[in-house]
Symmetry: C2
Subunit: 393 residues, 2 copies
């Protein structure tokens, strides 16, 4: 508790809501074309030392996952074929969060299994708990070495790492019983090409994201997201057994709300305008801003439901938005927020704009965000975390 | 061909037979107590740049593996339950060798499957080739990042990495159809404690290995090996499906032959005497030599067969010694041999004796080996590679 309190004091007021969730946890799942290795290892800016926000935000959904398993997962049927239950965490990164989540899911499954056994054959104590195998997935560039050396010593499961994009096949047909993926699916597999085409109405001039952009830009992002989700769902449909469950947690947005009205969008707008100011002053080229875009998309529940229904392989058990910062007290501490954003995103920007201008960029960003801190504080409890539970038909 | 020839010229005459096989490829499977991270990455002394010997030695057994799969593996039955075939390479390290071996096994399995299908239902072209899933296993300290980023792009299998000791459980019950392990099983899980007990007749004073040691020392190593193999076989017995196959390649020795009569043993004896000379001259402490031992054991086919039969879970399909250097022409190039040994083993020695004395040690070793080069050359074609094929009963 003491340690948790301290962490809360140090970091709590700097919570950027899903600004951090979106950008920090899942850099490993950036599109291949623009991916950078995330901060591996255990250093000052490593993911494993900088994932408190994700832990807190994921905690918001913890009880719901337990409830879904208790109410809707038929462990007896799932384990009837081979007595092995296989779990997958897609976009696992390197930190402790994936181990905590897996532990939560595993314990809920064990409880459900026991309750089903005691109901069906109350005098049969020989019925053996299934073995659990857990697959930790992320892109090839993820730091699996840190993940593997951090595995809990007392784990009650057999662990494996699976490198590769979850937009394609990762596991054998009908082999997985439960899929979990947090803060990963909002990353696109690639950037829409038209964003950089000067002749296209979707040319995203002077911005790094679709926030505050013309509809054509938003549409290009939305199309790419729908295409990625279709590939994701098709792959999972192959891999999940019938009645297998999939929990998806990601950045979301209420239907019809412009991205500029949530903190993530305010951050992106402020980055865009900081960069454009620097271009006007000749510190960077304006063309460099035009050619840089973040492959990040926040879907509404209605949009996601439409994609799932069109795909057709899954039933929707639950689909809702939640406030990922329900645990957070007090106003946002802007300088601390920018430090966290910088730790998470600096590599992405420095590779494109050069490391020499990073102090300048993040300094300007701090000022821009301080100017709109009232706005950020007034929106930082919006429901911008999408929680979805699907079941393979 | 040209590239292969060049490699052969550069390295061929320096082949230390299984001196290198034993010490280089599998440092990752050293006992936890004395393990060092093997040379990961792609640098000058990395495993992936220094595994030509292993490639050649493994190649000696390639045709035999293909033959065993063709003659003895029932692919139709193995794939009848789930249409997924699962392979495991235990002690895979990071290099290309594991990918080549897996490719060989996979292609042999596909051929066998096709031939079985065409025999059983010649007009049924709908019978679908199974999906293949390959598990690459090594200790947690292995460089899985290099392994994952080196995976063949055009692979016809789903890949996963499994960190952990193969002396314990790695996979779910009855889930694996084929196990391969090369140049790993000769590493003990730990050193017998009595080697360092001055009151024990197995105190290994003045030596770094059981080569040229009293029977009690040899016996202590043999007991540990038998215990390790028993744990290994019990774990694999759980994991392999009935009729699943296991291929084991490791350093071996003809029954009754002292280790001092094979090049590996000559190397260890020369290291021991180099260190003892240095102790006498006050460069290191004699106690440091007494307390250092290499956890390496070479078994005879008869010894291995006895262990497998006592275990009882496996039938022996094949058990034989081969000459791992059949491809090698010309005499051993001692300085080049020592360079390779140093690249592979320096870490192990420098951690114990300090990095300052490494030049001294390997310089002396070169002279010692040059003095016995005739002996090394006369024994370098001994059959010291143990090839075993087991089948789960």
């Amino acid at each position: 508790m003491a340690e948790g309190d301290q962490e809360g004091k140090l970091l709590g007021s700097a919570d950027p809501l899903n600004i951090i969730n979106g950008d920090h946890e899942n850099r490993a799942n950036l599109p291949v074309t623009s991916s950078l290795p995330m901060n591996g290892g255990n250093g000052t800016y490593s993911y494993s030392k900088n994932s408190y926000y994700q832990k807190q935000s994921a905690g918001v959904e913890r009880e719901k996952i337990i409830e879904e398993i208790r109410e809707k997962l038929d462990m007896k049927t799932l384990s009837s074929v081979s007595n092995t239950i296989r779990l997958a965490d897609l976009g696992c990164a390197t930190g402790q969060n994936t181990f905590m989540t897996i532990q939560t899911i595993l314990e809920a499954m064990q409880r459900k299994y026991k309750s089903q056994i005691s109901q069906s054959c109350p005098h049969d104590s020989d019925d053996q708990m299934p073995e659990f195998q857990v697959f930790f997935n992320d892109l090839e560039s993820n730091d699996f070495n840190t993940l593997f050396t951090s595995l809990p010593q007392d784990r009650q499961y057999l662990a494996a790492g699976v490198p590769g994009s979850f937009h394609g096949r990762l596991f054998p047909e009908s082999s997985i019983h439960f899929v979990h993926t947090s803060f990963s699916l909002h990353w696109l597999s690639k950037l829409p090409e038209e964003l950089q085409n000067k002749a296209s109405p979707a040319w995203n001039k002077g911005r790094v994201h679709y926030t505050s952009a013309p509809n054509e830009v938003i549409e290009a992002y939305a199309c790419q997201f729908a295409e990625d989700m279709e590939r994701f769902l098709n792959a999972r449909a192959k891999e999940l057994v019938p009645q297998g469950m999939m929990v998806m947690i990601m950045t979301g947005i209420p239907k019809g709300m412009p991205c500029s009205q949530i903190p993530t969008g305010m951050l992106y707008d402020s980055i865009s305008s900081s960069l454009m100011d620097m271009a006007k002053e000749g510190i960077i080229e304006e063309g460099e801003v035009d050619s840089f875009n973040l492959a990040f998309y926040a879907a509404s529940p209605e949009e996601m439901a439409g994609i799932v229904e069109k795909n057709g392989y899954f039933g929707i058990e639950r689909m809702e938005l939640t406030n990922p910062a329900a645990w957070m007290k007090g106003p946002v501490d802007i300088p601390s927020l920018v430090t966290h954003v910088r730790a998470a995103m600096e590599g992405m920007f420095s590779r494109h704009f050069g490391s020499l201008v990073m102090d300048e960029l993040f300094g300007r960003l701090t000022h821009k965000l301080q100017d709109i801190s009232d706005l950020i504080n007034s929106t930082c409890h919006e429901k911008v975390q999408l929680f979805a539970v699907l079941k393979r038909k």
